[in-house]
Amino acid sequence: MLQPLAMFLSPGFLVAGLVLAAAPIIIHLLNRRRYRIVPWAAIEYLLAAIRKNRRRLQFESWLLLAVRCAALLLLGLALSRPMGCTNTSLAALGQRAGLDVFIIDNSYSMGYQHPRGVANTHLDQAKLIARTLISRMESGSEGVAIVIAASPARAIIAQPTYDLTGATSTIDAISQTAAATDLAGALRLAEKIASQNAALPNKHLYIFSDSTRSALENTQAADIQTLSRQLGNTYSITYFTLGLRSQRNIAISGLHSNEPLVTTKFAGQFLTTVLGFNTQGSAKLQWKLDGRLLASTQSGSSAEGIKAVLDNVAITTGGPHVLSVAADGDDPLPIDNVAYRVISAAGQMKVLLVEGDRGSTPMSGSASFLNVALAPGLAAGKSAESYVQPTLISDLQLPGEVLSDYRAIVLANVPTIDAREADALKQYVSTGGTLLLFMGEQVNAENYNQMLLSRGLLPGALQRRMNAPADSPFHFDFHPNGALDPLLAFLANQPRSGLETAEISSYWQVSLPTNSKAERVLDYTARDKGSGGKAAREGNSSLSADPAIILNTLGEGRVLFFSTTADAQWTTLPAKPVYVPLMHELLRGSIVADDLWMNLNVGDSLSLPNRIKLTASPTLQSPSGNLIPMQLTGNPATYQSAPLQTPGIYHLNTGHDVYPIAVNPPEEEADVRTESPAALRAIFGDAKIDFESDQPPPVTAATDQGKDFGWIAMLVVLGLFGAECLMAMKFGHYKR
């Protein structure tokens, strides 16, 4: 039963109508007080007319007054939109009024193929049911809003429309996406629409989804439950389950290289995950590189995923390459049967070595040692045997270098860094570059703390220089059989690498902040208690073990800090066999793969890194050949596209180069197993929801409650105004 005030959509108009209804009476009384005086000769005839017609004139006058008052009162009543009349025959006169919000899940799992008449997929069937429901609505009295639940959810009709034909066309235009489900976002939008249209009665929320685990059992589950309970108080909710109990799907996901840096010098190993839901048997995988078939393998599949590996993939040319894995077979949801990966193979990795030892000769400075270590043949004047292409310069030449030309920059024993250089280095690292810092005699700790620490280029402040007694040098806390940092994993179970026996006479002690997220790759042995390196690696700075190698992340890039020298000045490490491979692995491990920006998921926007050279305005072409606009946004300005909605290989043309861009469907949407009815009720927090199947519900008699009688009242008002005109004319109140 409606509350008295809730029986009117706009009670204010009713009050206004009540006030206005008094207007004719007031005007009548005022007119009786304000009259003109006319001397009149034929007064006898007037008096006779009055005598003869007094009763009729009075009746006409009162009738006219009553009609005018009633018309104004009813006008207010009509505008106040009266609701109600429960289960009475009068209700047949009213129109069903209200708000109908449709949430239609068009995530990629709704593309599941299951023919039902003209509907081929779940989404087709959802649109069919929604159209059927709209066709049963009464035009002009029920507002329709439509929200699509593919991530990110958005309202395609946010302001309720009374144009039901337009609403049907909008539903027809909803397209299948390859995005994940954002049901919580859609429910939030429905809540917003309800709050913006609080005055509308009879709010109905129709949700169309396949009820897959991926859509409901995710990080949004708590939000879905809370929102459902709230919406249950606002809407009457009907949930249409389009998914089948036995839905099956095979999906390929997580294709990646086993190494952080793929080079042309070494064969690579690539892995992918084969997901199988409600499926039996194995999947046949086809591995392709740049469209060329590499291999066909068999792989099992499971809901948890089974790793499939392809070894010895040789990439002979540097630059981006497209690797793809596709699963053959009959799958009702084929969109996730292929995964793409763009791999940037390093053919010649340019590294800038900055030497701080002024006037040093070959093999006499830190950077020179590194130069030899990273490219032995090249340093000796022979042909390059390494993929690393170092360039050795003095620190005085650093300001003249274009840093973005290099994948890594090494500062070895550089005395000081000025503010301009520090800003340039920060910009370089933030946009994906790698900086390696090696200490030495020349290093000015105060300058480093001022210039580099404040810009995040140092993991912590340089506290003091630690010097060991001549008879008791420092050692690295390295245990080849213990737990090792991934950067040192290549030394696992190699007891004679020399790392644990290398002596260090001096190093710079670094004070790591307590909340530092820097990764301690290697520590020095603790001197006072002789505690193990494992304890030191757990990051408790209260221990006496100082860090020797620290890896820190800044923006998209990394900074590797080496607290002693790269040459033999402070340590005997360069004389050890491990020196060359260690320097290679530290470099390779700290290099950030520069292909991350080329590997996206559906719904991501392509953001062009600033290091990419442009010789023309960049253009992005979709897999179907459509051009997608790129716009400059942000500060510093970068080219960015709109969210990419179609999986596949895009092509970015920078004028200078063409880059492939891989866009994969979100792997979390692959789990198409549906929730049981009991689980669904629990997920929606036991909110009052009518669960329906995948068919339009039967036509039921519309409830009488909450019907809108505004139009009926308006018709009566029009009738009264017409009657007033006729009566006034008949009674001689209008000029003829």
Partner: protein, 312 residues
Amino acid sequence: MSETAEDYRQYLDPRVLARIGSLELRARLIVEGLMTGSHRSPYQGVSVEFAQHRPYAIGDDIRHVDWKVLAKTDRVYLKQYRQETNLQLVCVVDASESMAYGSNNGPLTTNHGPSWTKFDHATSIAASLAYLAIQQQDSVGLAVFDNELRRYLKASNSPTQWKQIVQELTQQPRVRKTQMGRILQQLAEKLTHRSLVLIVSDFFDDLESIEKAFRLMRYRRHELIVMQVLDPAEIEFPFEQVTMFKGLEEAGELLTEPRALREAYLQQLKLATDRLRQMCRSIDADFEIINSGVSLEATLGNFLAQRAARMK
């Protein structure tokens, strides 16, 4: 129609006449206007005394064509003679308070000139017809009344009679309630010769007593011409807003919504007028309703033409 005729006719509009202070001048203008416009006098006929020639107009009786003039000049002229009658015209004019009503400054016009009352209209008619009669050597008398017979001039055809009539019509006050029936009976006693009695009034009085007086006059073999003068506002009742109608002649007042009452009022007026018309018809008297808002040319012209037609 000639330019001169146009000039005269403009003076026959009541709103123009209202600006002419002198009733004598008004009457002359009216009669000259009438004569110039029609070129024939309804009182002209066959007599021994030649009056004038005038050009033939279509519809004229060819018996009056002067054949000698036609033979000499080849133009068709009619001979006109002064009619010799022993007609005695008595103009009876109602000067009661109800005759003082005039809406020419009221709802019918935006003209802010002097008001043209029913009494103005009545006196203009009386003076005009008196002038016409005297021009034809007939005797003219005058009776002016309100609740009493205020003035009575015996009929005479002396040249000064018309000036006296005009003077009396101009001076009469109009503030009293009428008692027309009694006064007409008194007048009937006074008229010793058989007369043509012209009664000009709004007849807002007891019609039964009036009827008695009319019958008495007819019994005395007087011929009656009854002219009921009504103001346009009385005929159309054009009031819109709530109005307090204050009755003249101490007849009370009424606050009412005029639009609602209009139809009933007009019905009552029609009833009274119809009764008066019926009354006149029953005693073989001429009856004419005169709208004081309408040009006197049309009013008098129509009346005289109809009367001439009946006389034939």
